[in-house]
């Protein structure tokens, strides 16, 4: 059984792709659905069908309209206009009808419903009224709820306000005609932007706008590979159930950046805690902060979580450095990987040279020695090799 990057499987023909693209809706965070990397859904949705065996191989990789459909593609630079376009394909979907599943489909469990459902129009089947009402609400976190999770009385409650206390605020908000433009600065960028809060009714749309403003393609490519490595990290340090991680988003913290705001009292707060109305009322300006600096704002102390294995953190930090250094060559790198794969049909290892002075060594054997086939492209960096860069 060929290890699946799903290169073998995937779409039937070109016709399938077009329809599929049409079908995909933007996820409500603003990134196009195709942009989400996800583990394991052995699903080839819509028309393009899982069938189409290995024939797609050579034609598959380059360029967009691949026979493969959106769900099985390897990342290439061409896919990165705004977000990144990658997807899963059927795990070992080689051949057969779109409903065929290999035994190795265990990854299905690992896939979050979120990632899957966001890729399909009308799934899960929730009435659009309910969707609009519930999912356009702000994300509200609450001290009580965090308490509920870990039972950890040591949570830092002090910084957090109770969410729904202040209905007066909401009433006032409705009456005011608030001039909505606020400044937005991002760490590392000397020049800031302004965003009109009036144009938004929820955190999601705001985050989307900010992402579009600030996350340029090179950063996104970088984010993409970072994301891939994060997943690797999650898998390597664990065992058991794979979890998929959302691609970087300003609100959910999987990115290197965190969205914060300064309120009327001059305090810097994490965006997303209070209802939108309250936020709207009190925000003075926004800042996109590095996650590392924002940790002080966190509620859950690290002691609550299991100890993160060191090598993972190390890899990540080194990867950050590498990516910083050569982000715009990642696409070349990826193409090389793919070429190698096609040529040798062998996933054990591949080396690539980028910019003449940075050597990457991809070691896939640790993945594919497990019985789980990962249908997405994951890059990893061998620790021993990385040490030469530190």
């Amino acid at each position: 059984m060929e290890p699946s990057l799903g290169l073998g499987g995937g779409g039937t023909g070109g016709g399938g792709v077009g329809e599929q693209t049409a079908m995909m809706e933007k996820d409500y965070m603003g990134m196009s659905k195709e942009a989400e990397l996800e583990l394991g859904l052995g699903l080839s949705l819509g028309n393009s069908g899982a069938g189409g065996g290995g024939g797609g191989g050579a034609a598959v990789v380059k360029g967009k309209g691949s026979a493969w459909g959106e769900y099985g593609r390897i990342l290439t630079a061409k896919d990165f206009p705004n977000g990144f376009s990658c997807g899963t394909s059927g795990a070992a979907n080689g051949g057969g009808t779109k409903r065929e599943r290999a035994a190795t489909d265990g990854v299905d469990e690992g896939c979050t419903a979120a990632a899957v459902s966001s890729q399909v129009v009308g799934w899960p089947p929730i009435r659009s009224y309910r969707m609009n009402t519930l999912f356009s609400q702000t994300k509200t976190s609450n001290v009580e709820e965090n308490k509920g999770v870990g039972g950890n009385e040591n949570n830092e409650k002090s910084n957090k306000k109770i969410n729904h206390g202040n209905d007066k605020n909401d009433a006032a908000l409705k009456e005011r005609g608030h001039l909505g433009f606020v400044k937005v600065n991002m760490d590392g960028l000397p020049i800031g932007r302004k965003v009109d809060l009036n144009a938004h009714k929820s955190y999601e749309t705001l985050a989307k706008t900010l992402e579009e403003m600030f996350f340029k393609p090179s950063l996104t490519i970088r984010s993409c590979v970072t994301y891939a490595c994060l997943m690797l990290a999650a898998i390597e340090s664990g065992g058991g159930k794979e979890q998929s991680i959302q691609p970087p988003k300003l609100l959910d913290g999987s990115s290197e950046f965190v969205l914060t705001y300064e309120d009327k009292e001059g305090d810097w707060m994490l965006v997303g805690d209070v209802p939108w109305g309250m936020f709207f009322n009190t925000v003075k300006r926004l800042r996109i902060m590095r996650t590392s600096e924002a940790n002080g704002l966190g509620l859950l102390s690290r002691t609550l979580l299991p100890k993160i294995s060191d090598p993972v953190v190390q890899i990540r930090r080194k990867l950050d450095f590498l990516l910083h250094y050569c982000s715009y060559h990642i696409s070349t790198l990826i193409e090389q990987v793919i070429d190698y794969r096609l040529k040798y049909d062998n996933w054990t290892a591949i080396s690539g040279v980028i910019r003449n002075d940075v050597l990457f060594h991809f070691n896939f054997s640790s993945f594919f020695s497990t019985q789980v086939c990962l249908p997405i492209f994951i890059a990893t960096f061998s620790p021993s090799l990385l040490s030469s860069f530190s």
Binding site: E19, L45, R101, A113, L134, S141, G148, D252, G253, L300
Partner: protein, 602 residues
């Protein structure tokens, strides 16, 4: 012998026959029964507004007083039907006005209702009493103002989950002072504000008010005043429930609630602080229906506390969701290891399932349960799993209707559920990942659903999800003898699946299929079947134009509609071309004339 029965007697007897199905059966007995029945029928139910036209309905039932109409196909709820597809109520209202029908009640579902229709409605029927709109669209608060102003004997205005454009008028203030007949008022789906004072006065002058559902914008002190004025309420929708638990208003609210001894149904909580929930505990003891599905602010532990008070609950709608993992990940700033994620997931799964466990141990009278997800985009979306469902089935033997969104499912769980609850009439299971296999064995969920259909002999409605092969349809065809509505998505392997269903389910009325590999062979195998059904929806399947055309030719009393969106609006598509969306339904009146460009009736 029956010929000697005077018609008056027959009519009197028929008065006791209320269900439309029974009336339809009665009318088929003989010509005289048909004749008596049609003149005495006051309530007409039309499950597909395009199956017949207003003129024919009026001609047959000249004394109709109550009309129920359904418009768009069910999958329109999930954005699978483009806007402007159809389902306009105006022609119906116009026709009834023209023929002098004494309309008193209009109940619409998934229809397009314009302000003009509402205005015409309000002005044409002096005895109009009841308007119920479910999942409709196309109107604004101006239309509601017309209803409020003109319907002097209005008893019921019930707006459920409609998309209403709020024009910031004062529609509620349009109820004249002379209006004292309101029994039921539900405007929970409206987004804008209403005049609080007008609302309070309206409630005060309607002593028969039994059901009141407020929207998000009604402030809490108004709710408190209303409850003080109307302690006779049976059904309350609180709107938002946000307040400072220590405030005076909250204290007054608690007292007011204690006096509302008749409330049996509670909903709302559109925005809620969990600390405020104890105010409703006094009502909980007698509650039979509780809808918390729009209350994402109630987290599982508080939910559990609330439910423990609700021992008489028969109907429960909740959402379980945990956004926490989202934030956990967020705050830590580094990626969680797998172990970390697993650990958190287990806790959260437990809370979700634990909540259901609380329901199972408290609500022994439970008949209907709906569990919605309320955050689809969080990392590691926990929520509920098969364990929660099993717990419910074990604890609530009277359960007959369930809608359950879950993270994962197993065959073993479904088999257990089938054994515990053989009384299901409606069983809808939705795995958030549409093709997820059994979480333990990795097998398809065929056996699980097979057990459900085998055990629940009265099953009328079924929605399946998860990894499913043709086998599950074999079971459905074999065992689901009473099945009337079946929803299929991402399931099956071949035409055989659909054929099993079409051949087996004799009482099937509505079949809706999406993203499944059923094609022409299945579609054309038994064309006569479709005249026994209300409708068939197939989207993203393997059906081609040619087959649809063939079907349309063979069956002139079916409307076979193809919905073409976007790209290929070709003049004459290739017969071999796959059809993206097909909706066919039986009809007495041929192709509809209000179809938009993108809908072709073959």
């Amino acid at each position: 012998m029956l010929n000697y029965f005077p018609e008056e007697v027959l009519e009197h007897v028929f008065d006791f026959v209320t269900s439309h199905r029974d009336r339809n059966a009665v009318s088929l007995v003989c010509k005289s029964w048909y004749s008596v029945e049609r003149f005495s029928r006051e309530k007409v139910f039309i499950g597909n507004c395009y199956a017949v036209n207003p003129e024919r309905v009026i001609a047959r039932f000249p004394r109709v007083r109550s009309l129920t109409l359904k418009g768009k196909p069910h999958f329109a709820d999930f954005n699978l039907v483009p806007p402007d597809w159809g389902g306009y109520v105006y022609p119906w209202i116009e026709a009834m006005a023209k023929h002098g029908i004494n309309l008193e009640e209009l109940r619409l579902k998934r229809m397009v209702v314009s302000d003009e229709s509402l205005e015409l409605l309000a002005k044409s029927f002096p005895n109009f009493k009841s308007l119920v709109l479910v999942s409709c669209e196309g109107f604004t608060t101006d239309g509601l103002a017309a209803i409020a102003s003109n319907c002097r004997f209005l008893r019921e205005l019930d707006l459920q989950e409609n998309e209403v454009d709020d024009r910031k008028g004062q529609w509620l203030s349009c109820f004249p002072d002379s209006c004292t007949s309101l029994i039921s008022l539900n405007f929970a789906c409206l987004k804008g504000e209403v005049n609080a004072a007008a609302l309070e006065r309206l409630v005060a002058r309607c002593p028969n008010l039994r059901s009141l559902r407020l929207n998000h914008a009604v402030p809490l002190d108004t709710l408190q005043k209303i409850l003080t004025q109307a302690p006779q309420l049976n059904d309350l929708g609180t709107g938002s429930f946000v307040h400072d638990p220590d405030s005076e208003t909250c204290g007054k609210l608690k007292n007011a609630m204690k006096k509302c001894k008749s409330i049996r149904s509670l909903s709302g909580f559109l925005d809620v602080n969990a600390r405020c929930l104890p105010a409703v505990y006094p009502i909980c003891t007698n509650l039979t229906s509780l809808n918390l599905s729009y209350a994402p602010g109630i987290y599982s532990n508080d939910l559990i506390k609330l439910i423990c008070h609700c021992k008489k609950l028969e109907r429960l709608w909740v959402c379980f969701f945990i956004k926490l993992i989202h934030y956990t990940y967020f705050f830590s700033g580094v990626p969680l290891s797998n172990q970390g994620l697993n650990w958190i997931m287990q806790i959260l799964d437990t809370i979700g399932d634990k909540g259901l466990g609380a329901v199972a141990s408290t609500c022994k009278e439970l008949q209907e349960l709906r569990v919605f997800p309320s955050d689809l985009y969080g990392v590691g979306n926990a929520g509920v799993t098969e364990e929660g469902l099993v717990a419910i089935s074990a604890g609530c033997p009277k359960l007959n209707s369930i809608l359950y969104f879950c993270q994962q499912m197993t065959n073993a769980a479904l088999i257990t559920v089938a054994k515990n609850c053989p009384n299901f009439i409606r069983f809808r299971l939705c795995t958030l990942n549409p093709t997820i296999p059994d979480a333990v064995t990795n097998l398809p969920l065929d056996e699980g659903f097979g057990a459900i259909v085998q055990s629940c002999k009265g099953l009328k409605r079924l929605s399946v999800s998860g990894l499913l092969t043709d086998q599950v349809f074999l079971y459905i065809g074999m065992y689901a003898e009473q099945l009337e509505m079946l929803s299929i998505a991402f399931a099956g392997d071949s035409d055989k699946g659909m054929l099993y269903v079409l051949n087996g389910c004799k009482k099937l009325k509505k079949l809706e299929i999406r993203d499944s590999p059923f094609g022409n062979v299945a579609l054309l195998a038994d064309v006569g079947k479709y005249e026994t059904m209300r409708s068939l929806w197939m989207s993203s399947c393997e059906v081609t134009f040619g087959a649809c055309k063939t079907l349309a030719e063979k069956m002139p009393r079916l409307n076979v509609e193809i919905i073409n969106e976007g790209e290929e609006i070709e003049a004459s598509p290739d017969d071999r071309h796959r059809v993206e969306k097909m909706y066919l339904y039986r009809t007495l009146v041929g192709p509809r004339r209000d179809a938009p460009d993108f809908v072709w009736t073959l």
